[in-house]
């Protein structure tokens, strides 16, 4: 899933302080799971903002909505009939949702309420970590299902650097060395021979380096 973090309230206030009618829009997908922009967070943020504006003696109307998905035309359409009531939307969806909202409602200012961080998973309650950088050419088959691009600090493709110590990465003792994990799992799978193979220089053109990306599937287009 896409992992996001709440923006500091001061930053949010700074973005929306000049509007009188605000819609705070949550999203029911990834940001709900990572507890940054679901219905619950929309409610908490709305209360905090109401309180702030009240203390400032400002009359600001704040409505709440949580859409099934903000990265989807169908669900975004649900607010078309009332969007003109608002001076601005504060979207708690990931960056994709915020942009889709902005594209759809071209004349309404839209602000992000979260920082979109990475694609990852919940390791345990309250701890999320990165797993994929969408490089566009997955090599997990060769690296025992552990991604060195998103999980090795140096994005090394041919084994650990000299800084790997006791299974930990040189940049922090709290971080597993991705290559230690890869080697351990290759051993477990009895595939250590694979480690001997030299991984070719990577083609980064399918990553963001090649410009904004698009997937077009003729077979499913309408």
């Amino acid at each position: 899933m896409i992992v996001a973090e709440k923006k500091p309230i001061e930053e949010i206030i700074d973005q929306v302080k000049d509007f009188q009618k605000l819609l705070i829009a949550g999203c029911n997908e990834c940001v709900t799971v990572c507890e940054a922009g679901g219905k619950k967070e929309v409610g908490i943020l709305a209360s905090a903002l109401r309180m702030y504006f009240m203390n400032e003696g400002k009359k600001v109307e704040i409505d709440e909505v949580t859409l099934e998905r903000q990265c989807d035309h169908e669900y975004l359409e649900e607010i078309r009939d009332r969007i003109d009531k608002y001076d601005a939307v504060l979207s708690l969806a990931c960056g994709v949702g915020v942009q889709f909202m902005a594209e759809k409602y071209f004349s309404t200012p839209v602000f992000p309420g979260v920082n979109t961080c990475f694609m990852g998973a919940a390791e345990e309650r309250g701890v999320w970590s990165e797993r994929c950088q969408a490089c566009g050419q997955c090599i997990l088959g060769e690296t025992a299902g552990i991604c060195p691009i998103s999980r090795c600090a140096k994005r090394l493709l041919n084994g650990p650097c000299g800084g790997s110590t006791k299974g930990k990465c040189e940049i922090s003792k709290d971080l597993d060395c991705a290559w230690q994990l890869i080697l351990d799992r290759l051993k477990e799978l009895d595939r250590l021979d694979d480690y001997e193979k030299i991984m070719p220089i990577k083609d980064w053109s399918t990553e963001r380096a090649g410009g904004p990306r698009k997937v077009v599937r003729e077979d499913v287009r309408l």
Partner: protein, 291 residues
């Protein structure tokens, strides 16, 4: 006279664009450079123009410096992060390279290593800010430098911009000048009428505008550029003249010389002659243009 002094004097500046070799043999590069030594004010050495891998601008400038030739060192946002860029800029300062020019760099995917990873850690404006900071004696981390580099600073401007794009280009230009840019090299100019439309929006007293004059090689090349590169338009008559000419090379040189003459008449600060691989023809172009 150094390039900086020449710009300040208001005399017509002549720059030559000199692509470094793709390879470690610099003998032809040097021979071509020696041919025009003393005739141009400086050689502009591109940093992997069109994202085609070649010897670095810094290395090539240092090489030409050994042979007493003044250069313009190009720093490019595309391939280096802020550490590498600052390191190169300091090294250039220590090597007494007098001129530096910041460029954004063309798309990697259009070059000969399309699989390379793009860097773009700093954008063009930030790179110019970086140069300015280093010149003042501090790096981007705020650390005091032991000795600061001195440069005459330049950048590029898209002379083919019009409409809304031109407004943005003008905004950028003002930012660049505020950041200490002393000369601006334009994209290649063929259509003088269009160029006049562009130049009237620029306050040329603030920075020396130096149009690029590109030596065409054939009518085919001209047609290709005219059709495919949005920022450049080549008048049909020019293409026709090349096509009809019995001696195409002579016609192309003549055309380049004429454009240079017109730009001089228009009161431009100078020209940069670009020969893309035909550096050995530069003396002939200069003869024809009476430079």
């Amino acid at each position: 006279m150094s390039l900086e002094a020449k710009i300040k004097s208001g005399e017509f500046v002549v720059l030559g664009e000199f692509e470094p070799p793709k390879g470690a043999d610099f003998s032809r590069f040097l021979n071509n450079a020696k041919q025009i030594k003393g005739r141009v004010d400086a050689l502009v050495v591109p940093e992997m123009g069109n994202a085609v891998m070649k010897a670095s601008s810094l290395g090539s400038c240092a090489f030409l410096k050994q042979h007493g030739i003044e250069t313009v060192f190009q720093v490019c946002c595309r391939d280096r992060n802020r550490l590498a860029l600052q390191a190169d800029i300091l090294a250039a300062g220590a090597l007494d390279i007098l001129n530096i020019m910041a460029v954004p760099g063309e798309e990697i995917t259009h070059g000969d290593h399309p699989q390379a990873r793009l860097v773009n850690d700093l954008d063009l404006i930030q790179l110019l800010e970086t140069i300015q900071r280093l010149k003042i004696g501090k790096d981007l981390a705020g650390v005091e430098l032991s000795g600061s580099p001195k440069f005459c600073v330049g950048s590029t401007v898209n002379a083919g911009a019009f409409g809304g794009v031109r407004d943005i280009e003008m905004e950028n230009l003002n930012k660049m000048i505020d950041l200490g840019v002393q000369f601006l090299i334009t994209t290649p100019v063929f259509d003088l009428h269009r160029f006049q439309q562009f130049i009237k929006h620029i306050d040329t007293s603030k920075g020396a505008v130096i149009p690029t004059v590109l030596l065409l090689k054939s009518a085919g090349m001209a047609r290709y550029i005219d059709r495919n590169i949005k920022s450049i338009s080549i008048p049909k008559e020019m293409i026709r003249d090349i096509q009809k000419a019995p001696d195409k090379l002579k016609q192309c040189i003549q055309l380049t010389a004429e454009i240079i003459g017109h730009l001089k008449e228009m009161g431009m600060a100078g020209v940069m002659i670009s020969t893309v691989g035909w550096e050995d023809k530069l003396p002939q172009v200069m003869d024809a243009a009476k430079l």
